[in-house]
Symmetry: C2
Subunit: 218 residues, 2 copies
């Protein structure tokens, strides 16, 4: 009985890292569609988000079933509740990738980002994808030195996000107001993706060490 | 023992509605600070958000304790997991009120919203506050006719949000790019607040009826 339960817990971890793999893929494709105004790829990301949502539901049902059937205690309980929380954050990261793809579709055949910002978004997106991939690695290996790496990437994303507002406020910024609004939302989506990644990493760290680290400065 | 457990569950519900009361208050004050550039009031909202976060932590700890100590089954379990999820959404609503207050502080002594948008934001904020107050009522009374009212308010907020982008895209929109960016973010914050409210309302409905209604169209 106990052995079966440990197996089920292990499966829960696998389900979680499967979702993280899909999320990394979603952001990678969403960004590619965004940079190149590839509306087919954008549609693919939008459609694939339903799969992430379905997988989150499966995981949540499984977790609640484990809580109900097993009456787990202490560390097992913490793990199951942690899995429920992480699945919520991952699902939200999938939504944000979808939002990027939806902006792409909305502005097609134009690209969303005007030339002066292309490089900044590319950097943000690369760091977002790196965060999602490091989450998968963290889930599989529990190598806690990945956590500060994820935090550092997120801080770099925050700096890039702030930089976009500085660019927008410059006198030479001559994009239309509609573009300015798009650019602001896109930056916010890339930035929030990183925040959720940090939040998942902190939960894994907590599960491994049993202790909360101080939250990285927002 | 059973009676004590029911009492604890009841307390969990009270903790949840206490947080919802604070969230309604936070959004009400955040909007007032935003409309009038009242930086003291904005600071008050920003400081008070830590109280919401602390109350969410207390609730989560209590919920996990109940899961651990009682090994609850079926409907009780659903209720505790539901409380954990709702507390996350409410905490996020508090964050969004804080973001509105932070925008106010950033632009002080100017107001964030230019004159043509003041009325739209007022409507959005009033509907957000109404949603938060209806959540409190729903938690206390379990009157399920409040759920479609909350959904309807959120759809009105979505329409107002879309309207802001139409205003921005008009040739007569002559605000600076920095203002356009602020206005976009503010609109997004008001809009997301309503989404989280809908999500909490759906969870309460699920707890009362045991059935998921189809999600309202996003």
């Amino acid at each position: 009985m106990r052995k079966l339960f440990q197996e089920e817990l292990h499966n829960l971890g696998d389900q979680l890292s499967d979702i993280a793999v899909l999320v990394a893929e979603a952001m990678e494709k969403a960004y590619r569609s965004f940079e190149t105004a590839d509306v087919q790829l954008a549609e693919e990301v939008i459609a694939a988000d339903a799969r992430i949502d379905a997988k989150q539901n499966d995981l949540d049902e499984k977790a609640i079933e484990l809580l109900a059937l097993q009456g787990p205690v202490a560390s097992d309980l913490r793990l199951i509740v942690g899995a429920l929380r992480m699945s919520t954050s991952l699902e939200r990261m999938g939504d944000l990738a979808r939002h990027i793809a939806q902006l792409t579709r909305l502005r097609y055949p134009d690209t969303v980002a005007p030339a002066p910002l292309v490089e900044v978004y590319r950097e943000m997106a690369e760091k977002d994808v790196a965060i999602a991939k490091k989450l998968v690695e963290l889930m599989v290996t529990r190598q806690l030195d990945l956590v500060p790496q994820i935090n550092a990437l997120n801080e770099q994303i925050n700096d890039l996000h702030a930089g976009i507002f500085i660019t927008i406020a410059r006198p030479e910024w001559d994009a239309s107001a509609a573009t300015t609004a798009d650019v602001t939302l896109a930056s916010r989506y890339f930035e929030r993706f990183g925040d959720h990644g940090v939040s998942v990493a902190r939960k894994i760290q907590y599960l491994v060490t049993g202790e909360w680290e101080a939250a990285p400065t927002a």
